[in-house]
Point group: D3
Amino acid sequence: MNQEFLQQNLKNPGAAAAFAGKNEPIAPNVQTFLGCDKPFEKADTVLFGAPFDSTTSYRPGTRFGPRAIRGESFGIETYSPYQDRDLEEDTAVFDAGDLELCFGDTNIALRQIEERVGQILQHQKRPFMLGGEHLVTLGALRAVAKRYPDLHIIHFDAHTDLREDYLGATLSHATVIRRAWELVGDQKIFQFGIRSGEKAEFLFAKEHTVLQPFDFAGLESVCEQLKGKPVYFTLDLDVLDPSMFPGTGTPEAGGVSFMALLQAVKEVCKLHIVGLDVNELCPIYDPSGASVALACKIVREILLAL
Amino acid sequence: MNQEFLQQNLKNPGAAAAFAGKNEPIAPNVQTFLGCDKPFEKADTVLFGAPFDSTTSYRPGTRFGPRAIRGESFGIETYSPYQDRDLEEDTAVFDAGDLELCFGDTNIALRQIEERVGQILQHQKRPFMLGGEHLVTLGALRAVAKRYPDLHIIHFDAHTDLREDYLGATLSHATVIRRAWELVGDQKIFQFGIRSGEKAEFLFAKEHTVLQPFDFAGLESVCEQLKGKPVYFTLDLDVLDPSMFPGTGTPEAGGVSFMALLQAVKEVCKLHIVGLDVNELCPIYDPSGASVALACKIVREILLAL
Amino acid sequence: MNQEFLQQNLKNPGAAAAFAGKNEPIAPNVQTFLGCDKPFEKADTVLFGAPFDSTTSYRPGTRFGPRAIRGESFGIETYSPYQDRDLEEDTAVFDAGDLELCFGDTNIALRQIEERVGQILQHQKRPFMLGGEHLVTLGALRAVAKRYPDLHIIHFDAHTDLREDYLGATLSHATVIRRAWELVGDQKIFQFGIRSGEKAEFLFAKEHTVLQPFDFAGLESVCEQLKGKPVYFTLDLDVLDPSMFPGTGTPEAGGVSFMALLQAVKEVCKLHIVGLDVNELCPIYDPSGASVALACKIVREILLAL
Amino acid sequence: MNQEFLQQNLKNPGAAAAFAGKNEPIAPNVQTFLGCDKPFEKADTVLFGAPFDSTTSYRPGTRFGPRAIRGESFGIETYSPYQDRDLEEDTAVFDAGDLELCFGDTNIALRQIEERVGQILQHQKRPFMLGGEHLVTLGALRAVAKRYPDLHIIHFDAHTDLREDYLGATLSHATVIRRAWELVGDQKIFQFGIRSGEKAEFLFAKEHTVLQPFDFAGLESVCEQLKGKPVYFTLDLDVLDPSMFPGTGTPEAGGVSFMALLQAVKEVCKLHIVGLDVNELCPIYDPSGASVALACKIVREILLAL
Amino acid sequence: MNQEFLQQNLKNPGAAAAFAGKNEPIAPNVQTFLGCDKPFEKADTVLFGAPFDSTTSYRPGTRFGPRAIRGESFGIETYSPYQDRDLEEDTAVFDAGDLELCFGDTNIALRQIEERVGQILQHQKRPFMLGGEHLVTLGALRAVAKRYPDLHIIHFDAHTDLREDYLGATLSHATVIRRAWELVGDQKIFQFGIRSGEKAEFLFAKEHTVLQPFDFAGLESVCEQLKGKPVYFTLDLDVLDPSMFPGTGTPEAGGVSFMALLQAVKEVCKLHIVGLDVNELCPIYDPSGASVALACKIVREILLAL
Amino acid sequence: MNQEFLQQNLKNPGAAAAFAGKNEPIAPNVQTFLGCDKPFEKADTVLFGAPFDSTTSYRPGTRFGPRAIRGESFGIETYSPYQDRDLEEDTAVFDAGDLELCFGDTNIALRQIEERVGQILQHQKRPFMLGGEHLVTLGALRAVAKRYPDLHIIHFDAHTDLREDYLGATLSHATVIRRAWELVGDQKIFQFGIRSGEKAEFLFAKEHTVLQPFDFAGLESVCEQLKGKPVYFTLDLDVLDPSMFPGTGTPEAGGVSFMALLQAVKEVCKLHIVGLDVNELCPIYDPSGASVALACKIVREILLAL
């Protein structure tokens, strides 16, 4: 059998190893995010997708986010000239694929996410979730907050997400940070880039969170303050300007640039990140694919910076 | 003031009347389905939209169906050469607009629909709902079945929709006819055009419903049998072949033609229809607009045939 | 009857009031721009659409602009963190819907617009028109200039729009500011952001208008100079860079940013604005919806700044 | 110089000939419909485009039709297995490119078309116009009717196009056949495939034209009757079912199939066709390109059948 | 560890088994065509993708075909009401994923395909390839013809694909059946549904292949004749009418219906099929997804019929 | 004959002249880039298209670039306010249309390009090629380097393009600058804006080329250094940020702005440019048309600056 030919067609060494002993000439189709093909045991970070958008009230479709990110990741390189690091050499990530979540019953879906994150934490690994709508963060936070009582949250977003309820539902993309606040308490949530919300939400933020509107001003001193503490990082990609990231359900003009986000992300990743997610990519709204490509690039940069 | 000019810009005589007494030169923007502008009291049918797709597991977007149908209806004519009737002369329909439904909590959304249908029935009018995903039918059925204990259901669809549960949820587009069966009982549901489902669903149908796969064979004798009985008519537009109706979440090759559907619909509308819906239009998947236009045309033909 | 349910489904208090006395449980479908639901008598500004693009020579479709803006406005918030003001609390706007304009006979269409603006002015209200192609501005200007002899015009655009005629037509999107100049005379028109035109147009501008190419430099001093004078403000959205606003017929690289436009618009709105329009949104060319969302946001900011 | 190389890169023998004498190695870029590259003098048919859609009230874009047909024609073959004939061997067609028409002033545009058709007729050649919206037919008809007093018209369409006026305009895509009737008189127009119109239009047709709704029934006997008489053939492509031809502004379900149209077209082309047009292709609404490809194929079949 | 949860998230039993022994709670992301998750050793058919379209001269994109088919297959059911069979119960298929083929050097790419098919045949399994452009068939045929000297080919297509060379290349989607003929000789290739080609190709077919234009007439007797002989079946999906299958590079009006194709495919699959492929799906040209869904359905029906 | 009418419909004076002597009223359809209609003999620059993308491994479609640029160029003006120059007055360019290149055999295609560029150089004219994928540059470079032994290359791009081979092919869009280096040698290639590549490529660049990552820093001094030397300028448009230029196969966040590129291009065009190309526009990925419009504008500015 042509060994070279086999190797060429196997992107996942783990799978290759599994099948090598059995003298299998043709391996099954294992698909991971670019370069995230370490075996589970050797990984320090576990990537997985949470394709859920059931509470999205405006324009749905973020459910297609994780699949798009994984599939299109092969359009970028493993090497980053920004950090001079390479996914294949400098990271150890296992990609567990997408959860198959319940649509229409939010409680079940959140419980499924919480269980998955719990499993990952139990193996002392860092969960890295790809959304999905922003509500998926709540499932992850419930598991992480259980393990890390003094949890802090860094939140990049265009929207406050601080409503008490939305269209009659308390579990919603528009309420997720409010629910997060119920988990971690006052002054534990640090919000950046915010430029949309109800008046009442901004008033709530004044009392209970630390909110920087429009940009990342003050991020450095926040990071200084959080050094050594367990931090969950949730990145709603609509914090970016829609010119750079049109592929999202609720584009909001006046956002940050990719370069500003890249700088901020590198800053945050120096902290003790115990869990994180990247969410709200909605591929269908950007036929150019530039939004998916950008999401892939940010995920790569985060993995390299962690 | 230029009276003619005013008239020209008012599509809703009801609204015009309401404002005439107040000597208002400029009327507000009242939008209805083409020709469905009778005052509520004079209407025998009440049209409304149920823009909900929270349980859609595959490709969402039917929430945009009612709005698209209403907006694009002005691209067709009020007159039908198929029936030689005209919406403006031969119907009395009030368009109540879209409900604002809860996303992410299916129970709340179904209750909202049930209440709206109950209101309409209470005024001795016929509810005509535009979906939305197929699950919205359940909300309407709950109200209709309460009022008409001997209710029968005619169901056009590509899919059986007879699952016991789907991805952990019992309230789902894939279970709606199973839930309907729980309301009305055995041999009360007549399914046509079905060409997709699990093996178990087809077995269930054999015992509990009357299922005609692929086409409308036998419809005439079913209609004969149902004459005079209260019938709810639910039309999942994906019963059509995707060539004619690509604008739906789950296109299923091998469907019926528009002309066959038109013929079947005219047959059904001769019955005692006490409620009905047209659902599963997902405009975003058909950029040509042909699917929306077809939906508008079918709604027109139904209104003329009722 | 469930009063709460009714309220929840009524976005237009005016309509609600109209029907309350008649004990109607179900209201008709009144659609307005977000928060622009004041009764006509109480409004100081009247919004309306002019869906016309008959002279567009390159890529048509701005006729769909007003409808898109109105429909998608519910995707943004009524509150602006930029101005700390709220549409529901701080404005009094009536939305009169779209005119139904003649296609193919430009003279008739312009007369229809002129009549509508005349009606609004006659009631001492400020007309705010949503285009449509830029030529619709001429219809509005004719009515406004009649009422305000000393009218000045502030014009944001990528294009000079100063041709004498275009493809044989003197009434054209490419000639609208030239026609405006015929109405108001020399040095009354202030053009900003201009980066495209024929050589002859730039030469014409040198003699007859005040033209600032590429950006908003000098806007502050112009506003200083116009203080107290009646000003018509016409905003061609293609003044924005296509990265931020691809949804327009003639995208022209090298435009201003959203934040720059926001700043400039706030400046202009401090003046005595007696009429205004926002035009040239062509939704079909931006499937992401970001352009429509931006247009909604700019309309909101203008309404809050007026 | 490499003669073979040159030949390979020249699609237009006429141009090649023009430059051969000058020993020019590199030819200008002459673009024609596939195989329509005969010199003007040797051609019996002259193809040209009329990219105009100014009166389109619903969805514009047919202006892009001629360019799309010409450009995409190279995706089909010159040979037809349906007729066993070949464009290169069996036809003599000159392609004059597109007219540059006035937008916004319908009278000017129609006059431009009339002049062009007049020129072609003057050279004893048959004009074959590619629309554009259906109104362009009127420009051509005016020139043809002048030359052929006993003109008959065969009209394939989904719509009657028999309105007296539309939105205030007498020159409109919706009135074009009414205007044609004014030119040629009673019982000279034969309409097929019609399935949409106002009641009044159908009543008008009963008295003044010969109208076959829905299909081509009776075409054969009409052709029998018209043998030897001068006939203008106008083909509105929306006569096709939208499943086969979604790329049009007003898709109307229930149309004819491609095979039925092909059969009918071959029948008509046996007559004495003194002018003809194919119109209402709107490429933008069919991203698959199937509509453009079908239009190219129908144009090829017509050219081969003439 | 939650065993049920694990099961729910594992679609590939083979992978599950591989990891079960290692006590791994979280499995890697194995993606297969719906229900094609048997271990390699137990499979009788091996599915794989050949994402190549380098010689496509008109509109590229079939390289995305296999990935789309695999990904969207989860939108259809494993059960077929047409055959009353189920992928999970009635088939044994291993999905080996996509080859990573060389772009720009056709010889290398064809060799890669030939090697893969050779490997599969060596294990006495049936190769089932998903294209890609039609040229990929040649790579497979080279391996299959080596093993089965008396090979016959059944070819469904809109195009003859019988050119000697195309734009200077002898290896091209337009020449693939000519190259196949060089492998198997005269009267071994049976072509159905053909409706496009050069005159010379049709003449070639008359002498060297059996060609049925336009439809499947005569298929039954051909199948009778081929009973027991080794047959390679190549299905170019553009044999379908573009109304049903717009998602292809060269849509050709006048094709067969899905129901006709289904019938024909079931007929062919009764033969001794030693290799097969389905090709020319180009997902990008059909935003409705109906073409991909149809391709998935045909692949399912073939797998069930084999 | 109506001379004015004729003039109005002729965009190409050269063609007009050719036919004037023959007293032909109707001219053939000559299509050029806006204002590039000088006769070949009088031109100093010859524009032509190289519609090839056979080695594109990720997302194909740049083959449609030249046609889109030529067709859409009529949407911009001939006059540039940036340089106060006009294409019609200040340039002498002949547009030779597109080559018809071989797909699937890269060697043939490159040879075709090399021959065409050789022809142009032989006539002492400057070749200006519109791609196509970046590999087409190699064909041009082979001809140019033969004529100018001391050739230098200025290269704007997001990607290094310095691989030794890619997926088994040495001739690939990803290897083109490596192949260029083999032609011209060390320190002759100046790369700007680079932000993606393999680690090995960046290491290669350190030794053999001059590479400025991310932006145009240092361009001025490079231009100083190259004054008077023969320079080939190759502009891969993906050097732009995807927000401004989404219409490309491999969008790479973090690019330069249009204004920065314009500035850089003007700088480069002051040099002794002996050949140049603009490549990697892939129109299909940007439905707004903004990318094509930007490409047209850059081509115009380059032509004016040369």
